[in-house]
């Protein structure tokens, strides 16, 4: 009996210890700051802190055989890898690229920034840049940018979003724009002119309906109906296109319940109600939303420009700007910005790589040659884009594109549990009765400390 009691006591102790251990693991996995100070650099990212400034006087940094570390997310791996490979082949410096799964990237970056252990070169989804620039995670590269011979031609959206207290911290690395992709074969079958893409959002809906009428497995359009970032990327340009806003200038007040925004939602809601969208739209959370159009059964849908090179050749893909209700055009200028981490020990070498990625050589022979959008306005028309009018369309619409600025982009708009998804889903798939309350909830997040 005594033995049994002792055994039970041990079991109880083991159980309690197991509970503690399980919780400690959960809790400790949330920790990322070993030294407890969480210093993300010196706080001001002053490049005067670095030693090798003299060699960087030509504006292109230092190429002395150093090893430069770089992180990027999987979504833009292909573009980053091509640039890194081309740089490593032609320079003494060598860039070691680490690719992190896209969904894990922000947590990984936040943890590294908190511990002051960011890589030398940080690629980052442009919408999250302000979150890091405001805490000094990036080096101030204002002077370096301005010293570039092509400084005035760098696509401004990314640079603007990375500007904090009038100091610049990032430049564009990969440009990803939202544009309509349409299936020219299906356009012909539906009696539409494949050379006349929609000129208004209403016309977009008309085209989708016409193609949906082809029946069988063909559907008018598709969108990521449970993917907050997809809505932002593909629907906001229709609001911007006619000169309207989604937020105020400093990103602290949402305007996503405006009549103009509702007019855009109404067009899509009509397509949902008329069953013009492909099955699975309402449940599409993001991972596979770009995989539907290449199957050839979708008439027209907004897509990321970076997927143009992945389109199959068994049907002809057309590209057109996203339209507003009144026929204006715009795009979401997404993609990755790149900056030098404040904790980098080789900032001049890191700048050598970054500056090279913006050079004519890299932009034309690496970026444009692979059907990607160039990051310089003066190179929008180049020998590769001239061979493919779709690239000209994309490069041209980039100039009219926007990149929204707010310190709370993830919490307000990208978070699957955030307030944006209920607003837009409630409107398009529901009765939209909570739109004002949801918009206030977004504003509350934008204004939270």
């Amino acid at each position: 009996m005594r033995h049994a009691t002792r055994t039970r006591r041990r079991l109880r102790l083991v159980s309690i210890a197991a509970s503690f251990a399980a919780l400690a693991m959960v809790a400790s996995s949330c920790g990322g700051d070993d030294d407890g100070n969480g210093d993300a650099g010196d706080g001001n990212g002053d490049e005067g802190d670095t030693a090798a400034e003299g060699d960087a006087a030509d504006g292109m940094g230092v190429d002395d055989g150093s090893t430069i570390t770089m992180w990027t997310r999987a979504a833009t791996e292909a573009q980053s890898q091509r640039l890194v490979d081309a740089y490593n082949e032609s320079h003494e410096n060598q860039v070691e690229l680490t690719v992190v799964p896209t969904d894990d990237y922000l947590p990984r970056l936040g943890t590294a920034a908190g511990a002051g252990e960011l890589p030398d070169v940080v690629g980052l989804d442009v919408v999250f840049v302000p979150q890091f620039t405001t805490v000094g995670a990036f080096l101030d590269i204002t002077d370096r940018i301005e010293a570039l011979p092509f400084a005035d031609s760098i696509a401004p959206s990314h640079v603007d979003v990375g500007t904090f207290e009038d100091r610049k911290h990032v430049v564009p690395h990969t440009m990803d724009l939202s544009v309509y992709f349409y299936n020219k074969d299906l356009y012909e079958q539906a009696g539409l002119d494949p050379e006349q893409p929609p000129a208004t959002l209403e016309e977009f809906a008309e085209h989708a309906r016409a193609i949906d009428d082809l029946g069988d497995d063909v559907h008018g359009t598709f969108f990521g109906g449970n993917c907050p970032g997809c809505y932002v990327f593909t629907w906001w340009p229709s609001i911007w296109a006619d000169g309207h806003e989604v937020m105020n200038d400093d990103g602290t007040e949402a305007m996503l319940d405006s009549p103009e925004a509702q007019a855009v939602y109404d067009v899509w809601k009509g397509l949902v109600e008329d069953d013009v969208i492909a099955p699975g739209t309402q449940d599409e959370a993001g991972p596979t939303w770009t995989g539907v159009f290449p199957e050839g059964d979708i008439g027209i849908m907004p897509m990321p420009s970076t997927t143009l090179g992945l389109m199959p050749e068994d049907f002809e893909t057309g590209v057109a700007p996203i339209r507003g209700i009144d026929g204006g055009e715009s795009t979401f200028v997404g993609g990755d910005s790149v900056g030098i981490a404040a904790n980098s020990e080789v900032p001049d070498q890191a700048w050598n790589f970054i500056a090279w990625t913006l050079s004519d050589e890299a932009q034309i022979e690496v970026v444009a040659a692979n059907d990607d959008v160039v990051a310089r306005t003066d190179l929008a028309t180049n020998k590769y884009s001239e061979q493919d009018e779709r690239l000209v369309t994309i490069n041209e619409v980039a100039a009219q594109g926007r990149t929204p600025y707010t310190l709370k982009f993830w919490e307000a708009f990208n978070d699957p549990q955030g307030p944006w998804l209920p607003l837009v889903r409630g409107y398009v798939f529901g009765d939209g009765s909570t739109i004002e309350a949801d918009n206030e909830a977004i504003t509350a997040v934008l204004q939270s400390g």
């Binding site: 049994a4 009691t5 039970r8 079991l11 109880r12 159980s15 309690i16 197991a18 509970s19 503690f20 251990a21 399980a22 919780l23 400690a24 693991m25 959960v26 809790a27 400790s28 949330c30 920790g31 990322g32 700051d33 407890g36 100070n37 969480g38 210093d39 993300a40 922000l106 947590p107 936040g110 943890t111 920034a113 908190g114 979150q131 890091f132 805490v135 995670a137 449970n226 099955p279 699975g280 309402q282 449940d283 599409e284 959370a285 596979t288 939303w289 995989g291 539907v292 993830w410 919490e411 978070d415 699957p416 549990q417 998804l421 209920p422 889903r425």
Partner: protein, 313 residues
């Protein structure tokens, strides 16, 4: 009181030299401590220190990017209930735990009873039941996500080809279906593991006890409820503790399969901790949530043990 004789014997005995005292570091206790010290150091490093750090974080304003900004107790604990997701997440986690533990317990018991006795084909079933255990939970979740995906999943096309459905089944598209689909994954993944625990318990029950019950006239149902279940109590206790603790800490399966959706219907408490720490970059609130979960788990396990101990004393 001692006898005089005894006292006399004692008096005549030669004085014994004082026993040579071993140095402390050669004592049994010192050796024991030396053997235990690596494990103790491990526990201190990876359990006690993180626990203390979490405790300190929970009482501090601690943004991931800026680090410790000083004590703010009890703001993190006050603030956690203000999150509109907190109470729904607590409710959902409890609901999920109750359902999944009940299903796992019953199913694992049935499976253990099926494969308990050696008969032709039983090895196949034991292997088949246990096989999913060998797969990581994240991998299994990804596998099921692929199955359920309306875009790339094979299940809907197969069902359509068989003429069983029209269109798509929204496997993770509605709150109830998302919960049921996740439960299906978890049961598939873990039933075999709990079956093994119960199987070991069943096989440790002496056959004499069953024979005695049979001689006393007990039928199979009576034998199960009066003999098997009471003697299986330690194994059942282990299954309950592991399954309840695991369910209350559910994360991977929901993070990968449903990502908390649709419409925030499958957000668990640990998902909230992850969200606070690595997506909202607020380590203080995340640590406060962790401390609350720790206390709840402790209480749950203590209550379970007290309950399960009853009747065995």
């Amino acid at each position: 009181m001692r006898s005089p004789v005894a006292r006399g014997e004692e008096a005549q005995a030669p004085p014994r030299p004082p026993a040579a005292r071993r140095p402390w570091w050669r004592s049994r206790a010192a050796k024991g401590a030396a053997y235990a010290s690596p494990a103790a150091a491990f526990v201190v490093m990876f359990f006690v220190v993180p626990l203390l750090l979490v405790g300190r974080m929970s009482a501090s304003e601690w943004p991931l990017l800026q680090g410790d900004q000083g004590t703010n107790f009890p703001d993190n604990f006050d603030g956690m209930t203000d999150d509109r997701l907190f109470w729904p997440a607590v409710g959902f986690t409890l609901k999920y735990t109750v359902i999944v533990v009940a299903i796992l317990l019953v199913l694992a018991m049935i499976m253990a009873l099926i494969v308990q006795e050696r008969r032709p084909g039983v090895t196949f079933f034991r292997t088949a039941y246990f096989l999913p255990v060998a797969l990581g939970l994240a991998s299994a979740s990804l596998l099921f996500w692929g199955f359920f995906s309306p875009s790339i999943g094979p299940i809907d096309p197969i069902l359509r080809d068989l003429g069983l459905i029209d269109g798509n089944i929204r496997w993770i598209g509605t709150p109830n279906m998302a919960l049921l689909s996740t439960i299906a994954l978890v049961v598939w993944k873990f039933a075999g593991f709990f079956m093994i625990i119960l199987l070991v318990g069943l096989q440790s029950i002496p056959t004499e006890v069953y024979e005695a019950a049979r001689i006393d006239g007990a039928n199979r149902v009576q034998t199960f409820f009066r003999v098997t279940l009471p003697l299986l109590r330690p194994s059942l206790a282990l299954v309950l503790i592991l399954s309840i603790t695991g369910s209350l800490l559910a994360f991977d399966q929901f993070f990968i399969l449903t990502n908390g959706g649709p419409d925030n219907s499958t957000v668990t408490v640990v998902m909230l901790i992850y969200r606070e720490a690595f997506q909202r970059f607020d380590l203080g609130t995340a640590a406060a949530l962790s401390v609350v979960v720790l206390v709840v788990l402790l209480v749950v396990n203590i209550v379970q043990f007290r309950f399960l101990r009853r009747g065995t004393d």
